[in-house]
């Protein structure tokens, strides 16, 4: 069972509280998106689940074990892709597998499979700088996916992409999630992205951040049969979508005006 649990988590930097009393439980194979204003600490939450940062108070657990270090069981997709520029696409994807000790033949198969799924066939020998932003992010996702991680942590992965590419990637991610579901924690400040991708959306307050409210999207999505519409524009036209989006938007708006005072 791969759940993510934030129990009363707080994080301070030099006596400035970035996070306070964060409580969130991500169920097994659930896709949860955290939205919030910039600087509210949502990235910090993700980093703590990854083991790249540690809470000042409270506990972060994955499965039932406290997170103490980063590892391939909680694969991270970074906003800046973080592909090794000196390694080819193939070697980048291969890296995590080798560290896990996966035997050679199996590695080749798994890499080939994941590259096919991410439409990267033919680019095995290319270097990151030769690829477009969208393709680089696909490599980053492939690199995480190939490890078959229990938990996938995505930090505004489409933030650096142009609008059209972003939409395509969102559709692709939804496709992947339906076919091969796993526990996902996704960070964004785009409300539409959140509603489109998530099973549940957690709205975070501005600093010091905590979870303000959690909105269930999945039940509405399944009731309204969003899956029957392949294109994101069609889904975004639905009344149920618009309603959810506006609810979350308003919630965030309150936070923004809070901030400005």
């Amino acid at each position: 069972m791969s759940t993510i649990t934030f129990e009363d988590v707080g994080r301070s930097f030099d006596s400035v509280a970035a996070l306070k009393n964060v409580n969130l439980h991500v169920r097994d194979k659930e896709f949860v998106v955290i939205v919030g204003p910039s600087g509210c600490g949502k990235t910090t939450c993700l980093r703590m689940a990854a083991g790249l940062d540690f809470p000042s108070s409270g506990v972060v657990r994955v499965g039932n074990r406290e997170v103490v270090a980063p590892g391939p069981d909680r694969a991270v997709v970074f906003q800046q892709f973080a592909l090794f520029p000196w390694k080819s696409v193939y070697d980048n994807v291969d890296f995590g597998l080798r560290n896990k000790g996966v035997p050679t033949a199996e590695r080749a198969d798994r890499i080939a499979a994941v590259l096919k799924v991410m439409s990267l066939e033919g680019y095995e020998r290319s270097f990151p700088h030769q690829l477009s932003g969208g393709m680089q992010q696909r490599v980053a996702i492939a690199r995480a996916y190939v490890l078959d991680p229990a938990v996938l942590l995505m930090d505004e992965p489409f933030g650096a992409l142009d609008a059209q590419t972003r939409v395509l990637m969102q559709e692709e991610l939804v496709r992947l999630a339906r076919v091969n579901p796993r526990t996902v924690l996704f960070i964004t400040h785009g409300v539409e992205e959140a509603v489109y991708l998530a099973d549940r959306v957690a709205v975070m307050t501005s600093r010091p951040g905590c979870i303000k409210e959690i909105i269930d999207v999945r039940s509405i999505r399944e009731a309204e049969r969003w899956n029957s519409l392949p294109r994101i524009e069609d889904v975004m036209d639905l009344e149920s979508f618009v309603h959810l989006r506006t609810t979350i938007w308003k919630s965030l708006r309150e936070e923004k005006t809070e901030e400005q005072h």
């Binding site: 301070s12 540690f54 809470p55 000042s56 108070s57 103490v68 270090a69």
Partner: protein
């Protein structure tokens, strides 16, 4: 604050490790010399070196005390470095602006650049004997390239926007150079001065080993001829300390210029 697993070392740990490193270094040194594992001719004990240094502070060796030698070296160094900066920086700026000047000077400069400053010593000896001109020339050769190159680069790679703004505001060439290129290039120039100062100091040492009748380098060579290792080591320490102080001053100047501009 919760304890963080496997984080970086604390400040205390850093201090302790640093002290440990120094302890190992000096301990090894003292042990090698103290237990007679290495003859004193090769490696005098740290105490012997310290003793010699203090001795040289007011007893002359090779015709002057240590402080006098240092002053002598510093004097030449200052002259050589200032000459290099006074010629290199303006020349670099003008080369950055006037393409023709650049085309004329650059090939000559690039041809001469690969000649190690020290290789000029024989000519310096031939032309100046053991006079002050020799070391100054060698220092100049060492300090000049970075001063020139950095001023040149600073001027060449000034953001075009500034130049266009100045030109549309009707500035003359000289004004552009003085009021746009120069201020914009200051970080690069200061960086170049710092590197030049370092190279100049090194060249000085080399020159003094061969063509001087005073100065710390000269003192060291005489110490070597007299097989007085403590003297040689004292000289090395003195040279290191002065070089470090000069670099420290320039490093502060560099940081100051960066701060004033709000640039990281």
């Amino acid at each position: 604050m919760r304890a963080r697993p496997a984080a970086g070392p604390s400040n205390v740990e850093i201090l302790v490790l640093g002290v440990a490193g120094l302890a190992v270094f000096f301990g090894l040194w003292a042990a090698l010399s103290g237990f007679g594992l290495v003859p004193p001719r090769f490696l005098p004990s740290p105490a012997a070196v310290a003793q010699r240094m203090f001795f040289l502070l007011d007893h002359p060796f090779a015709s002057a005390t240590l402080p006098l030698h240092v002053l002598s070296s510093l004097g030449r160094y200052a002259l050589g470095f200032l000459l290099a900066a006074a010629i290199g920086v303006p020349l670099g700026l003008f080369m950055g602006w006037y393409g023709l000047l650049d085309d004329i000077v650059s090939p000559v400069f690039n041809a001469l650049r690969f000649i190690a400053p020290i290789a000029w010593v024989p000519f310096a000896a031939l032309w100046f004997g053991t006079g002050i001109g020799g070391p100054i020339m060698v220092i100049f050769t060492g300090a000049f390239p970075p001063c020139l190159i950095n001023a040149y680069r600073g001027a060449r790679f000034v953001d075009v926007k500034f130049l266009e703004a100045a030109q549309t505001l009707g500035a003359s060439n000289l004004r552009i150079i003085l009021e746009v290129l120069l201020p914009a290039s200051i970080p690069s120039i200061v960086s170049g001065l710092r590197v030049g100062a370092g190279l100049g100091w090194q060249s000085l040492v080399g020159a003094e080993l061969i063509v001087a009748a005073s100065g710390v380098g000269y003192m060291m060579v005489q110490g070597q001829s007299a097989v007085s290792t403590p003297t040689v080591l004292s000289g090395m320490i003195a040279i290191g300390m002065v070089g470090y102080c000069v670099d420290l001053v320039l490093r502060e100047v560099e940081a100051l210029t960066r701060r004033r501009r709000g640039v990281v």
